[in-house]
Symmetry: C2
Subunit: 334 residues, 2 copies
Amino acid sequence: MRVKRPTIHDVAAAAGISRGTVSRVLNGDRYVSPAARTAIERAIAETGYVVNRNARNLVRQRSGSVVMVLSEPHEKLFEDPNYSTTIRTAIRRLGERDLSLVMMIAGDDRDREQVLRYVRGGHADGVLLLSTHAGDPLVDSLHSGHIPAVSCGAVIGRESVIPFAACDERGGARQMTEYLISRGRRKIAMITGPMDTPGGIQRLEGFADVLGRKASTKLVEHGDWTHTSGELAMARLLERVPDLDAVFAASDVMASGAMHTLRAAGRRVPDDVAVGGFDDSSVAISTHPLLTTIRQPLGDIAEETVRLLLDLIDGAEHVESVTLPTTLVVRDSA
Amino acid sequence: MRVKRPTIHDVAAAAGISRGTVSRVLNGDRYVSPAARTAIERAIAETGYVVNRNARNLVRQRSGSVVMVLSEPHEKLFEDPNYSTTIRTAIRRLGERDLSLVMMIAGDDRDREQVLRYVRGGHADGVLLLSTHAGDPLVDSLHSGHIPAVSCGAVIGRESVIPFAACDERGGARQMTEYLISRGRRKIAMITGPMDTPGGIQRLEGFADVLGRKASTKLVEHGDWTHTSGELAMARLLERVPDLDAVFAASDVMASGAMHTLRAAGRRVPDDVAVGGFDDSSVAISTHPLLTTIRQPLGDIAEETVRLLLDLIDGAEHVESVTLPTTLVVRDSA
DNA sequence: CTAGATTCCGTGAACGTTCACAGCGTGTTG
DNA sequence: CAACACGCTGTGAACGTTCACGGAATCTAG
């Protein structure tokens, strides 16, 4: 049933010109006469020809695609709005360059092995890392294999080997902490993200920047970005510091969990306890009261990430990582 | 800098065997002696050889990849947990077959043209449609081009041309409606999804199945899956039917919006108005009170979708669409 | 012991491009 | 007019596989 697709020979024959010239118009070479060009263009339209990428990439020794590596092991993908924005932007920008985006997962070692085999096998011209954790062996392998790679969000400990675009995590956390103080809060606790992620580490740093030694470990609990981890962390905090009057969660989802625990404990938000989030994701407008949070310029981050990768693929020796400013979004929870 | 990668000739030379035999062990042919096999396997390990897909696909006349087409025009991607589960499952299952997943967008006509050129150009062995709307010209083009294609969720009006896996939308809606009735609710309104999507149409049908002529148009409002559309629809309903005592929203996100409006109007949930959602997505546990909703077996749907596509790619003439049962998840909102 | 099957292996052709090279007119310059 | 540059075109080789074919060796059965 599958009908044979026309090749470059077919359009050459249809146009009465050799395949070399056809290839030239296909690739925008300037040495081709107007007559030949129009004849070939008509022949292409008539035959419905479209270039065979396998053949092209084979001879060109390229792959024509970029792989996006998702590092989150579980089902976090959809909790993180970062992902979808980045995916869409990447598809768009890469498409403009006739590069396609292939997705891979690097959850466990077997996955990572597969990714590595894939890119070292020359099946990808570049790699786009998403939420890669500290110590992931993949990044060193990529680096030593001289594979163009960038990350959306910094890779902790490898900031100098993998260029990245990210928001100003630390500055954003400072913004929120200062805001809480400006609203008269005195005993401010924090629920951090995992301490092997930039969001986990740097948002805590920003918090500590502002609070100084008042940011005692008593007031800090760690979560893993999930709703339930926010609930549990909040419970621990309440037990240890019953008189806290504000909590800054390093993600909206955890903030939502924290609010849940607070309500169950009979604390009113924001009257008794103010709650601040981070991300300005979709849950920030599903909570009650609406969540005051820090917005990341996701679109810009995605754009910059892809741009860095393209520069690298184009042969740039070195590209400069970029960090973009956040903004405070005041709603009802603080 | 880029070092030349070893080819099949290199491993053949290293093993002292011809490339034909190497190809055989690569592709699991049975006619190869144990001695040759081990020699070649060692040579492969030594040289770090990995097959060049371009060359392989070129001669095999295949592409070695499947394209997933995202049809949502805007930023809905991340509001829909369907997506991430399906993406992950697809990557996994396709990877087992050495197929890679490339992502494309079909938001506007230009996008669709690009997708079509891509698949008709033989760059994909199959197509995986996600949330394609009724009347999308892409599906007919795919069908007439004899491109293996399946959809995650039915494509309205094209159920017979594009096989799909989906949950029992209509049955799920019946479950929720019956539950609300069983809790003593008498004036039940509904907020539907867009009427060119299966979730929009069939969830309303299920609602009407149970309520019969009590499901008057007065009690039905349409949303577009977003939070704000839920808020607005709820406001219209309250104005028209102030004494309603329950509302069934066709998605959790819209239910969250509805709850917001209800609270603003001074109605208590569930005391005054019970609220039911659909999806059991992450927002269902961020709302207050926690949302009673209908769970879709997302994992199974994704698995089935991919399985259908693989069957089609393997040459099956016809595959049977599957619909999977939903379950009622009772929480606090109803 | 011979005929035929079975197992294993090597070779050449093909897949559809690109690219370097060579060739051919025509125009320009000395 | 010779020499040369320039614009354009065709050709052959190469990219790295797979696959069909055929030959050699071994095994099985009559």
